[in-house]
Subunit: 437 residues, 2 copies
């Protein structure tokens, strides 16, 4: 019989749902607190999402940006990890319902992150590709390489173009980084791997509904980014929305159409809905309304942090904080502090977001970065971007492997992992069903 | 319309089916020959199969042992690569039928390798796991990690045991290396990642039908291997066959049973059948009978090399050469030489196999190796094993990444890639269908 099998402890139990940036930082900070931490995630790894776009463009192995949660918390004696999906909550009984059985909690924290937001457009949702999970990134990589292989089998340019038109929607950091990476595939890899395909048949589009790229950055940085992408050959369209997409033709808000079999959607994220949560605390954007202590509205001992939490009391961010890693990390740390204060029956400390700045890489030798008093651009920003991301990666092995891949790519202009891993063998059907892969 | 789109050349065309060890060595040796080489493979990468077992035991990333075929042959101007499956052959017209259309050839070479041989036992074939492809290895890794995660959710040891009984069938190098790797998972990883699971619940079995392990090695080496595996805690059974397996219970030839949900089958390989080849040239073991020039029986311009070819004129190997990389490599090189001789209308050179020796690693610091006049064992053999395998890996990046993974593992006793990559998102259904992943 399946059961969570979580050892009973005399100490109060903090159940954390989600092993993303928020969840793991909260859990780590509770290492020496007098609590039992139960960490749940549907996967057995922490995913370093900021580098996901490099997996999808064959620059990094999927394994280098995923770190096993058991590895992270091996030495944390007060933590129990279980792979589980949440199915509901019985708040009056302090019970969390999961796929592996009911789990009792004293304090419950939702840190479930966010998912691609298609803003209700079902046709786009069905045909576009989001990019929030490791398997999506691997499949994008497979798909893109396959588009090239299949293009070689076609003679008519009109048949080839839709295969090699790659359209990114959303001009935020993810869209910018993806567009830059695709433009580099076009510039450096395509002529070497597919010399028979004219480069002109491949086009990279970046479509943004608002008036500028990187909306959260300064005017100057947005402009620099635009120019850098254009120099790389990306067709940037601002003030342009996507109205429809049927898998073949993209219809834009200005009536124009683009033939494309690859629409990569990074135009928005929304909170990952937790099944069984009362509907009245969920906002239309999928987030959960919390107060300044990350307490979920109407609950004393239920919290939400990171992308899933909407905290609106900061006047700098009246619509809630941006859904970025830094907010999740800082909220995780603040909540750990507050849980200690609760146990000590002291007044809680409100969350204050310290904006450490943002950055986006555009391509080889080009990035933009903005910190409190600094605005970086070009080569230096690119070096800073690399150092910050390398240092943020968990684990020595991952740092080293990613570093080598970057180093190798820099000097060889190569992509190491442009292989298509596909199914075939019959005797793995059983495995597939069991593992759900 | 899909068509192979292979440029017409004035030079004779050599079509090679399969980018394994035989195929790529043949193709490389034809670099400066006055021929057009057309290389076909169902995948877009060359797989370094000798290290596949390390992918399945979470020691290496799948990408490190796969090398894009376009990368290998980028500088070979007389070569065209296409991803394609062979569907038939019209030998009278010198036409190869493939999924991407008909391809004309002047010389045709089958280098399609081998697949797991279940010797006709359908029940075992359905429930056991083979290990010849990258996706199988990745899925074994996912499956194994999942068995551990699920074991944590069970209280009854009788329910846990079948999940943690890992049974390898076949005492050749693959079986020995797999058993050693599983024993090390048990010894080094399990106590750290799953301290709540008693180590005694995990058992590694190695079952061999013949009287000794590593049948092709000397008596002394076989014995050393047996002892080394037993020291690691592997339960080795020789003179024992597997009669039945229903996914839960393994019935052995001596009537005993083992409860196990994981039967890894490396007890034999057979030639990968090429669709549409006349049945009379296929042997029951799936191989194609060839003469000493690797010419397929009854054909002047159709060849087979490597695992798929059965050449029986060498008195040292009356049943044909072993299905190992070295034979494929040497036959590929010899055939390249013979194709040149054919073009020059000179007499062909018969194939002579030079046995470079064999090796198998048993675990940390332990390997066995036998060369012409040398028999190595223990630490030194292990170092030699690592150097030979590193040097044989294609590409600088792969060498470096594998080296780092080994180095890291050696000093940390860790496995870097024990993550479960599973499906989930709904919007990748389309991708899955298209890519067939």
């Amino acid at each position: 019989m399946i059961q969570p099998n979580i050892p009973e402890s005399a100490q109060p139990r903090v159940v954390i749902v989600g092993g993303g940036f928020g969840g793991i930082n909260l859990a780590k900070q509770l290492k020496h607190a007098p609590v039992q931490v139960v960490l749940l995630d549907r996967n057995n790894y922490h995913l370093f999402q900021p580098l996901l776009y490099q997996v999808s463009t064959a620059g990094l192995e999927p394994d280098s940006i995923a770190f096993p949660l058991r590895g992270i918390f091996r030495k944390q004696k007060n933590l129990v990890f279980r792979m589980a999906e949440v199915t509901g909550i019985k708040a009056t009984e302090n019970i969390l319902e999961t796929g592996i059985g009911d789990i009792r909690y004293d304090y419950l924290v939702f840190a479930t992150g966010s998912n691609t937001n298609f803003f209700g457009n079902k046709a786009i949702e069905e045909n576009a590709i989001g990019m929030k999970s490791l398997i999506e990134a691997v499949q994008i990589r497979n798909y893109v390489v396959k588009q090239f292989e299949e293009s070689l089998l076609l003679k008519n340019p009109e048949e080839i173009k839709p295969k090699l038109n790659f359209v990114m929607v959303g001009g935020g950091p993810t869209g910018v980084e993806l567009a830059g990476a695709f433009a580099e595939l076009r510039k450096y890899i395509m002529p070497k791997d597919y010399p028979d395909l004219p480069q002109s048949l491949m086009n990279v589009y970046l479509i943004e509904a608002g008036p500028k790229l990187l909306a959260s950055f300064s005017e100057k940085t947005s402009e620099r980014t635009l120019h850098a992408l254009q120099e790389l050959g990306v067709k940037v369209m601002v003030n342009t929305g996507v109205k429809e997409y049927d898998g073949h033709t993209i219809t834009l808000s200005n009536g124009e159409t683009i033939e494309s079999q690859s629409l990569l959607w990074s135009a928005g994220v929304k909170g990952v809905p937790v099944n069984g949560l009362p509907q009245d605390i969920l906002l239309p954007n999928g987030r959960i309304l919390v107060n300044e202590f990350n307490q979920v509205k109407g609950y004393e001992n239920v919290f939400a942090i990171g992308d899933i939490a909407q905290m609106t009391n900061d006047q700098r961010f009246p619509k809630g904080y941006p859904m970025v890693a830094q907010v999740a990390i800082q909220q995780g740390k603040n909540l750990a502090h507050n849980i200690r204060l609760i146990l000590e029956k002291k007044p809680l400390k409100g969350f204050y977001y310290k904006d450490l700045g943002s950055m986006a890489t555009i391509g080889r030798n080009r990035a933009v970065a903005e910190f409190a008093n600094m605005r970086l651009n070009g080569y230096f920003a690119w070096i800073v971007w690399m150092i910050v991301h390398l240092m943020s990666l968990l684990g020595f092995r991952n740092k080293l492997v990613v570093f080598i891949n970057w180093f190798y790519r820099y000097f060889t202009y190569e992509r190491g992992t442009r292989i298509i891993i596909k199914r075939g063998a019959a005797n793995i059907v059983k495995l597939r069903q069991t593992v759900g892969v």
